[in-house]
């Protein structure tokens, strides 16, 4: 390959069309102009000049003012009328005296006017300067056109960006027991990431994120199309079947495009997640963070691909995050969604309205909001509503763990502390043993073994225990009530003497040390324990 710097483009001399009815004058001008470095064409009048101009594009026309037939101004008017694009500069040569001819010449559209007799050096200089001025005008005009086109394109892209953002669901969305929010921060005006949320008449809520390979307008168009297709498919099919059909649709469309897609569907008590190529979907419960990896190739790559879903209990998992790799890969966290969750400040549930500032949180990840992300960055959050929930449990030893887990899962994440679980286990065990079974602490004495046998022999009492979780922004109250024996009034206090040897009093100490507040109903059959946020 030849190096660019060895190429040289020879400069082509500017072409000047000399229009004059006098052959000797044309000859004179030709000589002067050729010596000045120009190429020259000649025409003996308006007719020949117009013929030549139909074929050639001279840099300048040197025009005699007085010619038989159509004179100089007459020819120039015709020329100007015929010009559609750039304007050919024209310089008049005239022997006429006075200002009238000059005015007529300029009025007809001349760029310059030279009086005869002509000094050859003046002629060359005036021709050069007129060509240069015309070039400058043309360059400025081109720049104006380009700027206009660029503005137009920018406006269109801005309109496209607004439209794409408007097509995203307005968040937060309250859907059943869940609040759903999401945001897309594209790396350009338009992005290949979208998210969407649908809700079926039976209450099933489905949310998904699509990340089309590539960026910009093409990716945005494909993303919009994939979104529409997926919405239709999800209305008729399960998430796995919808993903499989989307895959076949994209493979058959020959668009040479593929998309990473993650679907989260909440139906009654089950969360179903299908991940095809996105970073792991992150589901948070009181006890753990589950990561749901991709189980199938991104739709559009392999026609025969199949997809599997992961099912989680909506009773346990109360916060779900789906994010595109634009929020993980730039930070070297390709598969570490928890890291992104922490950076985005999402470890704690929302204090305010969920989702209003998600876009801002995402943007802040990139040079504190001063830079665009290197890739489209998208986040979808599903958060189980922190609402008051009540559930009845059988009075049986097996219920203790179930009731504690159920209540802890409904407590806000900030309240899910070790002391909540210790305290709740104690409260619920007491409600069952002392309240529902009616086995008073005083009767336990020292014979714990016999006491445990008695407890084990107690028949379960269906629905005798009611647990209510009342979360709020600042506190989480848990009420535990029971059918059976009331707690004796003298024991409704944290100030019981603690006997290190006898079991009596130890449970009370644990309960009162575990909660910020413990209060009793008047009838002694319900205790309310509170964990405060601060």
């Amino acid at each position: 390959m030849m190096a660019c710097d060895t190429l040289s483009v020879p400069k082509v001399a500017d072409l000047v069309l000399v229009v004059d009815d006098t052959a000797s004058m044309r000859m004179l001008y030709r000589r002067v102009l050729e010596l000045g470095g120009f190429r020259v064409l000649e025409a003996d009048g308006a007719a020949e000049a117009l013929e030549l101009l139909a074929r050639e594009r001279p840099s300048l026309v040197l025009l005699d003012y007085m010619m038989p037939g159509t004179d100089g101004p007459g020819f120039l008017r015709i020329l100007r009328e015929r010009e559609t694009g750039s304007r050919t500069p024209v310089v008049f040569l005239s022997a006429a005296s006075g200002s009238e001819p000059m005015n007529r010449g300029f009025a007809a559209g001349a760029d310059d006017y030279i009086s005869k007799p002509v000094d050859p050096r003046v002629l060359v200089a005036r021709v050069k300067s007129t060509i240069a001025a015309a070039r400058e005008r043309a360059t400025a005009e081109r720049a104006r056109i380009i700027a206009r086109q660029r503005n137009h394109l920018s406006t269109e892209l801005e309109e496209g960006r607004k439209l794409q953002q408007r097509q995203l669901p307005q968040v937060p969305i309250e859907a059943g027991d869940w609040t759903i929010a999401g945001a897309v921060v594209p790396c350009g005006e338009l992005g290949g990431d979208v998210f969407d949320v649908t809700q079926a008449p039976d209450g099933t809520v489905t949310a998904f994120v699509i990340d089309v390979a590539g960026h910009g307008l093409a990716a945005a168009l494909v993303a919009a199309s994939v979104r529409s297709v997926l919405r239709l498919l999800l209305a008729e099919h399960s998430p796995t079947e919808a993903m499989a059909r989307l895959n076949r649709h994209l493979c058959a469309s020959n668009e040479d495009r593929y998309a990473c897609v993650a679907i989260v569907q909440v139906r009654e008590e089950t969360i179903e997640i299908v991940n095809a190529g996105m970073p792991p979907v992150c589901a948070i419960s009181a006890a753990e963070t589950a990561r749901v990896w991709g189980a199938g190739t991104p739709p559009g790559l392999v026609p025969s691909a199949t997809y599997e879903s992961v099912r989680l209990s909506a009773d346990e998992y109360t916060r779900i995050f789906v994010m595109s790799d634009g929020l993980t890969e730039p930070f070297g966290l390709a598969d570490r969604v928890e890291g992104a969750v922490a950076r985005l400040g999402l470890e704690e549930p929302w204090a305010g309205p969920l989702g209003k500032d998600l876009g801002a949180r995402i943007a802040l990840q990139f040079e504190g909001g001063q830079a665009r992300p290197p890739d489209d960055a998208t986040l979808l959050v599903l958060e189980a509503a922190s609402k008051t929930a009540t559930r009845r449990f059988d009075a049986s030893l097996a219920s203790i763990e179930r009731a504690v887990d159920w209540a802890a899962a409904r407590a806000p994440a900030w309240a899910r502390t070790e002391r909540l679980c210790f305290g709740l286990a104690e409260v619920i065990a007491n409600a069952i043993v002392h309240g529902a079974f009616g086995l008073g602490s005083a009767s336990r004495g020292e014979d714990l073994e016999r006491q445990l046998d008695v407890i084990a022999a107690c028949p379960p009492r269906p629905g005798a225990i009611a647990v209510t979780v009342e979360p709020s922004a600042d506190a989480c109250r848990i009420r535990v009530g029971w059918q059976g024996t009331a707690c004796p009034r003298e024991r409704r206090s944290g100030a019981l003497p603690l006997d290190l040897v006898a079991p009596s009093g130890r449970g009370h100490t644990i309960v009162y040390a575990s909660f910020d507040d413990v209060s009793w109903s008047e009838d002694g059959k319900e205790v309310t324990v509170t964990v405060e946020r601060l």
Binding site: E401, A425, L448, L452, L498
Partner: protein, 113 residues
């Protein structure tokens, strides 16, 4: 009900407690330790390294077992309680009467096979 796994390391009986040790499984704890004491073993370690919560009934069982071991000239030691369990032992002041160790004594080797 959760079973209690017993391992013998030297003269020590190590009994692993479940994640939630409570009134629901305290009876099995009593039975497991008493079996060891009745077979003449005197050094009992209750392995709490996987235990998340202990309720007051289970604490009562542990106190009773510690007394039973002492009565036979032996000792009962809590092994590796987590922060939460330690806190409960502290607020019920049982940390002052129960032996607590973070790990196994060096002279009996590791618990891991």
């Amino acid at each position: 009900m959760t079973g209690y796994e017993v391992t013998h390391i030297g003269d020590i009986s190590v009994i692993a407690l479940p994640a939630r040790t409570s009134v629901g499984n305290a009876k099995q704890l009593l039975d497991a330790v008493q079996r060891e004491l009745q077979t003449g073993r005197r050094r009992i370690f209750l392995d709490l390294r996987k235990t998340l919560t202990v309720d007051s009934t289970a604490l009562g069982a542990i106190v009773q077992l510690a007394r039973a071991a002492a009565g036979r000239g032996g000792e009962l030691t809590l092994l590796g309680p987590n922060e939460g369990v330690r806190r409960v032992l502290a607020i019920t002041r049982l940390d002052s009467i129960l032996g607590i160790r973070a790990s196994m004594p060096v002279d009996v080797g590791s618990l891991s096979p």
